[in-house]
């Protein structure tokens, strides 16, 4: 369970990206985060991932406040959260395989288990054939799919996806969203920040809409527009 409690985020530049944001996400829920460009979606996701700190308010994950999280524990938090970054954040000098495998290196998995898991997930996003390419040798959509593969490779209990279909054509987008739904059905809380009206309207789920850093709508089985 994720609890966002009265969160305000003001960046060093003075810009207020989030203000009075307060809501809960149940275990195994699937939530769309929508809102115009600059509304604060990515900021909110980053706060849950603890790559930003709230200026005010608190965020609880499984009743544990991130404010009380020690610096040393942050990596372990992050291992339990899959994150699809809006700007991919792939290691530029590692191959597709190495990028995805990186997230499994922390565990004492055998070499063959790592190979199996990575191959499976690359199959899921349709990139098995590009396994030994560097990110710079891939198309935009392919890079995005590696990022998705990396986020889900170890079946994390929480998945945060920031615009995961921004570089994908409608068919591939559809497949990826089906994949996320399937993952959600297997006991993973999924939060997707997206602009993809088609998807939100077709695969109906809870919709949280942001506008200028404030929640303006929170609707079960909502559509993209109010």
């Amino acid at each position: 369970m994720i609890r966002i409690k009265n969160v305000r985020k003001e960046y060093a530049s003075g810009l207020v990206a989030l203000d009075g944001v307060d809501f809960r996400i149940q275990k195994n829920e699937f939530v769309y985060l929508v809102g115009a460009s600059g509304a604060g979606k990515s900021t909110l996701l980053r706060l849950m991932f603890r790559s930003e700190h709230p200026t005010e308010g608190e965020i609880f994950i499984d009743n544990f406040s991130l404010n009380n999280l020690k610096e040393k524990q942050v990596p372990y938090l992050r291992r339990s959260i899959g994150f699809v970054f809006q700007d991919f954040k792939l290691l530029p000098k590692r191959t597709v395989y190495e990028n995805v495998a990186f997230a499994l290196r922390f565990y004492n998995y055998s070499r063959s288990r790592i190979r199996r898991q990575v191959s499976q997930v690359l199959e899921l996003v349709n990139l098995s054939s590009k396994m030994h390419h560097l990110p710079s040798q891939l198309s935009g959509g392919e890079q995005q799919r590696i990022c998705i593969a990396r986020a889900i490779v170890n079946n994390p209990p929480i998945l945060l996806a920031d615009e995961p279909t921004g570089s994908l054509d409608p068919d591939t987008s559809w497949e990826i969203m089906q994949l996320l739904s399937k993952i959600n059905a297997r006991q993973t809380t999924v939060i997707v920040a997206t602009h993809n009206k088609g998807i939100v309207d077709d695969i109906r789920k809870r919709v949280v809409a942001l506008e200028k850093g404030k929640i303006i709508r929170d609707q079960q089985l909502g559509a993209y527009d109010a």
Binding site: R50, L91, R150
Partner: protein, 294 residues
């Protein structure tokens, strides 16, 4: 153990995929250590020269014509018990005169002075030549044995001061050079690490602990520093062997350092310094970067 293997393989990938940058870093570190090693070798030689100069200094005690062999032996014991005295050797006047004439062979001294004008003497060698004047004074109080004590006078004092300064300058330079080498190597490694700041941030974002991120970089620093210093060690050895041999042939009387124990110590120190600074540089840079990235 598993981690170490992982760190090494990651470090090798890092080096391979950033080949140009690594090459530049290796050349820089190698050149720096070459300069440093050269300085060490020079300084060892300067020190050696200082010692050599110093070892040539002695107090010469001209004995009174009248005293007996017994007296001489007593006097020898007395002197030997004085502080800073290392050895006291009897020099027969015949030997002394022969030597004197020999070293002034070009001046026809023997024509001018036909009879041996020199008395018997004692050669006193000190353990520390700074006290040469004091010891000479103390000996010269024993008028019953000797009315003339020589210690090279101004020349000896100068030589002693000069050799002390040589050693001092050597130490100062080695300290300075060590600091300079440290800066250059650590900074070079830092530049290669800063270059991959984005990578470090990404690793941290996907859940790598600081130790996990640092590991490969530190191994990389070790390989970079150790590899470069190994090359400079080999070059240094080759260079010194070649050059010192030439030098010695041209100036056979010059006290060059050839003991392989001293040289190997220097070579090994250069290698060790490279490896340590490589690790240190990586450690410093990676810690700083990790503190900056959340």
């Amino acid at each position: 153990m598993r981690h170490l293997a992982f760190f090494i393989s990651e470090a090798l990938i890092g080096i391979k995929r950033s080949a140009l940058m690594m090459f530049i870093a290796v050349v820089t570190i190698m050149v720096t250590l070459l300069v440093f090693g050269l300085f060490l070798l020079m300084s060892a030689n300067v020190n050696n020269l200082a010692q050599f100069i110093s070892s040539k200094l002695e107090v010469r005690v001209f004995l009174n014509e009248t005293i007996t062999r017994r007296d001489i032996e007593d006097f020898q014991i007395k002197i030997a018990q004085m502080p800073h005295v290392k050895s006291v050797i009897f020099v027969d006047k015949k030997d002394a005169w022969a030597l004197f004439k020999g070293s002034f062979s070009n001046m026809t001294l023997s024509d001018l002075v036909s009879e041996n004008p020199l008395p018997h003497a004692l050669k006193v060698v000190l353990s520390n030549n700074e006290y040469i004047k004091d010891v000479a004074m103390q000996i010269s109080t024993h008028k019953e044995y000797s009315s003339d004590v020589a210690y090279g006078g101004v020349i000896a004092e100068r030589m002693s001061a000069f050799s002390a300064w040589l050693s001092f300058v050597g130490v100062v330079l080695v300290v300075f050079l060590t600091v300079a080498t440290l800066f250059i190597i650590v900074n070079t490694i830092r530049l290669t690490v800063i270059n991959r700041q984005d990578e470090i941030e990404i690793m941290s974002l996907v859940g790598a602990t600081p130790g996990f991120i640092s590991g490969p970089f530190i191994i990389e620093g070790l390989l970079l520093g150790g590899g470069s210093s190994f090359i400079s060690m080999v070059l240094l050895r080759f260079f010194y062997d070649f050059f010192a041999r030439r030098f010695q042939e041209a100036l056979p009387y010059f006290p060059l350092v050839f003991q392989s124990s001293v040289l190997n110590e220097i070579y090994f120190f250069v290698f060790l310094l490279g490896a340590i600074l490589g690790v240190l540089g990586a450690y410093i840079s990676i810690s700083k970067l990790l503190k900056e990235t959340v």
